[in-house]
Symmetry: C2
Subunit: 211 residues, 2 copies
Amino acid sequence: MSTEPGPRRRGVAETTAAIERAAIDLVTEHGYDQVTVDMICQAAGISQRTFFNHFKTKDAALLGTDEPAIDQQAAREFIVSDGPLLAEAAGLVRIEPDRLPADPSLIMRRINAVSQNPVLLARQMERLTAIEDELRQIIALRLRQDALRDGADEAELADLPEQAEIVTHLLAGLMRYVGMSWARAAAAGTPPPIGTEHLAERLERVIRKLG
Amino acid sequence: MSTEPGPRRRGVAETTAAIERAAIDLVTEHGYDQVTVDMICQAAGISQRTFFNHFKTKDAALLGTDEPAIDQQAAREFIVSDGPLLAEAAGLVRIEPDRLPADPSLIMRRINAVSQNPVLLARQMERLTAIEDELRQIIALRLRQDALRDGADEAELADLPEQAEIVTHLLAGLMRYVGMSWARAAAAGTPPPIGTEHLAERLERVIRKLG
DNA sequence: GTCACTGTTGCAGTCACTGCATTCAAACCT
DNA sequence: AGGTTTGAATGCAGTGACTGCAACAGTGAC
């Protein structure tokens, strides 16, 4: 029909990357509401059906395939550590490096796009809830370690699961904070946003007030 | 045309309530995915256009018009109090009584429906973010009070806004916990779910571990 | 060459949601 | 009472996200 010979055989990874790039570019230029899936498809040179073969939703394409996950090695160390709980726990959540887009500038543009769109920001935050379960189990183990170390009684041990849940939710809130400040710094042009180290001292001060 | 004489003049409130009731009933019976807006409209005896005149989205009809809000009187007391910060702050968020549905059993059915649907649960949680801004300002005022009382220095005062944001996010996580346990208790049939009083002692124990 | 595999596609259809113009009952006015 | 205004409800046509299905075309294996 045209000069393009049927299906482009460029492999899953390339097509996926092309979609992500097109999506970010368009949203950066026109804003979230003004961009349709059809526009993204056209820019990426694929059909709409192909788009939805690669991404479950329009939002997913904008957020990318790199999801936050728990660093298993760090989790093992965290469980037996006796350092500041929240600050250490905040360091558990990472993004798997091999899932990151090949083009590094894409990350920056994505952070920019996401931080300027309430809808995307909300979706981004929702992703964190996906790992909350895993997180809760790790925190339960850590609390158990702490309790045993302190020689806790029966009643206190029984309350640990519930406490783990509270801590997990507190932590989820904290991760949202980290995400937001990261996005904000990125949007403002400040190059390397905060890590969790910077957070530790501040958290300590905050927690002292909570009692 | 039919026996029904044109548009039912039953007032906004009644129609809204009818939609809410129909929505909850259907989702309770068939599950979220199996219920379409058309079905809700038919059950409520209205047109689809009317549905969207009353609710912005399908989700909104299921969650109801009663949104969480900050109790202004409680907020004023909170700012000058020197009690446990997080536990007290968790008590600030209420649902305006006059916004609650007339039929009390509707609330129970709604909590049940929402707690069994991840999508709705997520939307419910999103609503909390709407008041986070207001919350942050109140917490900033409270932190300022605390700081002045303790005779804080210049540097510490400058850090207060950032601290207020951290506390707000921690608190947001905590409110999600309260909401979840409430929903869980309701789903399990346990009649009166926890209040924030019950939370206070537990929180104290948790926070002691966070340092 | 044939065959299985896989990435891609078109198409038809569903569902959520919107803008616009219209209708009808009730309240208001004279 | 008769005319006007108002506000809830509606029909309709259209957009945009998303799905299921069947088909098609390069790619590599035998």
